[in-house]
Symmetry: C2
Subunit: 367 residues, 2 copies
């Protein structure tokens, strides 16, 4: 397998040092040893990373473009991460900014199996943005979460997900919770006639997540959520392959910690790994991503020009009903607006408040 | 399951804002919703995070101590990471600094199954530090790596590991490589009489890593390496449990990216997850960890006062033979000094250079 692909790093360095830094990254992300100690000509020509270019971005930051050998990735999503950023992540002045994913890796990793188009088809949802909320707080017993799921579903939401803190804790074991919430949503669906989806959160190791996904499927669910940076990219890939009918929502938990640009990590890599929808903290909420980052992230998620399906961006993290127009004006229609805690502020009036939410989104495109 | 454990975050903030930031983290790392929307008294008292203290460290940085409910971790290593740092990792001004791991989680996660003591016992190695090197560069065919392994083993090394870039690529498939390198090391062992260990690198998803570990075991090996931030903590935990005879080396790949203090991540969490040895970039090499960080990391790794075994610190990342005395003076005897690329600079004289290395380490304690 020949060929290289370009990875872009942003490096904070003095101008006098940047060439050496760039060469250092090229070596670190390939052979990781002094080149003078390598005899093998093929390794030197085909495996060692190459510096493709250095651009001065100003303010002491440089964009460094490195050509890495596709062969070093082998057939593994984890190895892909290892080769693009494994050791270089240990430098606190380098950010992994972009990756031009080669065709061979698109074929290997596959991207979303369903994407925005299929999510819309399943819910017969066209001409407007999508709506979502979350079951909170953890600590509530399964039947209470099931009732909450029903209340939210009666408000006509498109998607109701587990809070990402819901795992398999004693207070709401996965099996009981999924059963109660699937039933609660089903009651809501029968009432509204709208095909609301419940999205449980998968946690644990691959075997445990597999068993949970199977349980979800047996309950008639066709969406699940996971956190790629917590379970590991190889785990996600395995599940996406083994459950081809499932749509996968990616949660960014632990992702901010990785000095990987959010628009690349969440908008690019989570999609590459098979996320059909990518949840991220939007500007204006509890987190600090800029508008530019959010725009770029959402744009990356929705791409369809690289051989893969477009994934649904899901701005979240402190969104409010009052900001619906502002958020949808910014992101556009191929978006799911996720309002969790702020919807729950309505307490007893949760269904009415949810109806206000779904109405605001439905009417947005008519404005 | 009652009880709380304390997590320490370093937050860069204005003094006027820090109390609100601290409370924000307490909520984010537990219920992640407005408290005013929670009715359930038990959730409010037992689940919501609590601010235990705030210390001004100067320079605009505060140490924030949060009490998290142990129950929210459930029985899963990934959920543990999710609850201590999942969403808060999305803030670029917060570092996860320390975790006072409660007994219940020590029991759940277990720490090293073997630790320094058992590694010494296996190699009958007392009274001196340990030595290690790495098979590089990737791209070499398996039989060449096998020969290199033999040359290194003939120099009397204690441990010979795969370069962490060696996965299952076409040029040196795992099965062939492990077979060739195990045989090469065995030839070296027969020559020297010293029980050198070969440490292959496990990659892929849990099933693949399981199969690789079994293959390694069938080749008579008793050590393997993995990268916890790449494969995911739940994967590591599953392997540590399923291969109780194996000693596990943890590689820090992708770990620097996580805004988690290295002394906690590598010295603390990797050990908690079951690493018997923890590889890290030492000061003075290719990476930028300070002496203080390295000292603290090594100290955390070696702890035996918390119900778990001590793990072996493995300073690496550009170490040289010339610095052996300096490095061992700094770290002490319960250390494995890992010299990879710099040893390979000796090329044809690799065995002689390796002998110089092992002699220098053996003689260090006599100095």
């Amino acid at each position: 397998m020949s060929g290289r692909f370009t990875v872009t790093y942003h490096v904070r360095a003095a101008a006098a040092d940047i060439e050496a830094r760039a060469q250092g990254i090229a070596v670190e992300q390939s052979v990781e040893m002094p080149l003078a100690a390598i005899d093998d000509e093929t390794v030197l020509s085909d495996i060692v990373g190459s510096v493709e270019g250095i651009d001065d971005l100003g303010d002491g930051v440089f964009a460094v473009r490195i050509g890495l050998a596709t062969a070093t990735v082998g057939q593994d999503a984890g190895q892909f991460l290892n080769m693009v950023f494994g050791n270089t992540s240990l430098h606190d002045d380098v950010v992994l900014k972009d990756i031009a994913v080669p065709e061979a890796l698109v074929e290997l990793l596959g991207g979303p199996r369903h994407g925005i188009a299929e999510l819309r088809r399943r819910l017969k949802l066209h001409g407007r943005a999508l709506t979502g909320s979350a079951l909170k707080p953890q600590g509530l017993p399964a039947d209470s979460l099931g009732l909450l799921a029903e209340h939210l579903a009666r408000g006509g939401l498109d998607f109701i997900k587990d809070d990402h803190g819901l795992a398999d804790q004693h207070y709401s074991r996965f099996a009981e919770r999924v059963s109660a919430c699937a039933a609660g949503v089903a009651r809501g669906v029968r009432s509204t006639g709208h095909p609301t989806r419940y999205v449980p959160s998968l946690t644990g190791n691959l075997d445990q997540m597999r068993a949970q996904a199977a349980l979800a499927r047996d309950e008639g669910l066709d969406c699940v959520m996971l956190a790629p940076m917590v379970c590991g990219f190889p785990t996600m890939q395995a599940l996406v392959r083994e459950f081809p009918g499932m749509a996968f929502f990616a949660h960014p938990s632990l992702g901010g910690a990785a000095r990987i640009a959010p628009e690349l990590l969440i908008g690019g890599l989570f999609r590459l790994m098979g996320a059909d929808a990518v949840i991220f903290p939007s500007f204006g909420g509890r987190f600090g991503y800029s508008r530019d980052t959010c725009r770029h992230l959402a744009g990356n998620a929705r791409r369809t020009d690289d051989g893969m399906k477009g994934a649904l961006p899901v701005p979240a993290g402190g969104m409010t009903l009052e900001r619906t127009k502002e958020i949808l004006d910014f992101y556009g229609e191929d978006t799911m607006l996720l309002i969790g805690g702020n919807l729950l502020m309505a307490r007893d009036r949760i269904t009415e408040e949810t109806e206000r939410f779904t109405r605001a989104v439905a009417e947005h495109n008519l404005a």
